[in-house]
């Protein structure tokens, strides 16, 4: 490619990029409220939580990464709100280094106390332990083999909620959060196949295709990407950051499609000329 042609293309890229940026920016300042249809797997995800009897024990395996939060924060906030609204007892455990920090930021926003929740009685945070597949297996068999104390260093036996909770037998639902696409297999193998624990999953948009084959038989519902977060916000009636992201992505991607159209029109016109 000669340097002139290259320069011409670079100019085109820059026009497309600027157009994308402007179109992403506008809805953030001036929300448009464009429609978002709710997909089946998100409805099933929501209903799985909603249909739990009040006071069920929900374990949240939390493998979030702070750099990927834009993609997932809407999912998290909406899920925690649903859990608290339906008065479930929640056990959070972090499987990544960033997990506790992200959870901290999340809970500061959602404020469990505003739902009448008391730490230690209605929800508990178990801190961080690196849990690979073997770790998930160990946790499901015996929670205390992985965590002996909570995030704040209190022995699990001294926490009212944890007193009678030891293993998968005491857990009514697993919410499995992960960011490495193949990790869904760990939950399926170690919780679903091994113990038949009802499981729902939340992950990145690009991991959706790998989670789909397990739905709805092994995983009862799943959220993939920020769009799913928005859908959950809509279906649960809890507005959050997802709506703005959806709005912005609706518009922001349009220059990309126009570019694809343009390059093809140009190509076919060139071909006609050559003929």
């Amino acid at each position: 490619m000669s340097s002139q042609i290259r320069a011409k293309w670079t100019k085109r890229y820059q026009i497309m990029w600027v157009a994308c940026l402007i179109l992403m920016f506008i809805p953030l300042i001036h929300p448009l409220g464009l429609p978002t249809p709710v997909s089946k797997q998100v409805k099933d995800y929501y209903n799985t939580i909603k249909n739990l009897p009040e006071g069920s024990i929900v374990a949240v395996s939390f493998g979030a990464s702070a750099t990927l939060l834009d993609e997932q924060e809407a999912q998290f906030l909406a899920t925690w709100k649903i859990l608290f609204e339906t008065k479930q007892k929640v056990i959070f455990f972090s499987t990544t280094e960033d997990g506790p920090m992200v959870l901290n930021m999340n809970l500061n926003k959602v404020k469990p106390e505003s739902y009448g929740y008391v730490y230690g009685e209605d929800y508990v945070r178990l801190g961080y332990a690196f849990l690979g597949e073997a770790g998930q297996a160990a946790f499901s068999e015996n929670i205390r083999s992985v965590y002996t104390s909570d995030f704040y260093g209190t022995n699990l036996n001294n926490i009212p909620l944890m007193k009678d909770i030891n293993s998968f037998e005491d857990i009514d639902l697993l919410i499995y959060e992960y960011t490495s696409c193949t990790d869904i297999e760990w939950a399926v193998r170690q919780w679903v196949v091994a113990h038949n624990t009802p499981t729902i999953a939340t992950t990145l948009g690009c991991c959706g295709p790998m989670a789909a084959p397990y739905y709805p038989t092994q995983v009862q519902g799943f959220l993939s990407g920020s769009v799913a977060g928005t859908e959950l916000e809509i279906i649960s009636g809890n507005p959050g950051p997802g709506a703005a992201i959806s709005d912005a992505s609706n518009l922001g991607i349009i220059p990309f499609f126009i570019a694809i159209l343009h390059t093809n029109v140009e190509y076919f016109m060139q071909r006609r000329k050559e003929k």
């Binding site: 992403m24 953030l28 993609e71 690009c206 295709p209 912005a248 991607i253 990309f256």
Partner: protein, 211 residues
């Protein structure tokens, strides 16, 4: 004030990374110099801390077998002197040995046997389903796997009838690449919007007193 300072610092680095798309500039260069230092420091600190907590301290408490990995690790530094660089082959060969053993076992199961199995399962699940479309999908997957695998045959030129088979394989491969592309494109789009939201929420609204 402290929040605005944080917003300013964060925004500077966001702009620094993005500015490279326009052209090479001093803001980008300065930002990347900062981040390389920070990244190395984080990595060095985490690992050095681990060497102490999982190596040196247990060793001092009598776990003598840890001498081997600690010593092997130090041998990696022999590369810095050309005359004794061969010493680094000990740890390197050990690591690759462990890796290769692990790789053969894991790959065989997860990426070959499971994939073959799933292809057959998909086909027969399709046949068992009431919808004829599911059966068709099962057949498409089987054809796709066979033709795309054939594309990777190197001992035969892709000509004649075999050429057509590999051509079909290429089409499947390309659709798959397109789908992977789209998954990541939309994810990265969200990341960009997230950064714009950060700039708005952490810097612009607070500066305008609209937080």
């Amino acid at each position: 004030m402290a929040d605005i300072l944080a917003g300013l610092v964060g925004t500077f680095f966001i702009v620094s990374v993005l500015s490279m798309l326009w052209k090479d500039n001093i803001v980008f260069r300065f930002g990347q110099a900062c981040i390389i230092g920070a990244s190395m420091a984080h990595y060095c600190f985490m690992n050095t801390q681990m060497v102490f907590t999982q190596g040196v301290i247990p060793l001092s408490q009598g776990k003598l077998t840890l001498v081997f990995p600690l010593l092997l690790g130090l041998l990696l530094y022999s590369r810095l002197n050309k005359d004794i660089a061969w010493l680094a082959r000990y740890p390197t060969n050990f690591l690759i040995g462990v890796g290769s053993g692990l790789m053969i076992a894991g790959t065989l199961r997860g990426q070959i046997i499971d994939q073959v199995k799933q292809t057959i399962v998909d086909l027969f699940a399709g046949f068992a389903s009431e919808s004829p479309l599911d059966a068709l999908n099962g057949v498409i997957i089987l054809v796709g796997v066979i033709t795309s695998l054939s594309f990777f045959i190197f001992t035969k030129e892709h000509k004649g009838a075999f050429g057509y088979i590999t051509k079909i394989g290429r089409v499947f491969l390309m659709i798959s690449l397109g789908a992977n592309f789209a998954g990541e494109l939309v994810w990265y789009l969200t990341q960009m919007i997230g950064r714009l939201m950060y700039i708005l929420n952490q810097l612009i609204w607070p500066l305008l007193g609209m937080a």
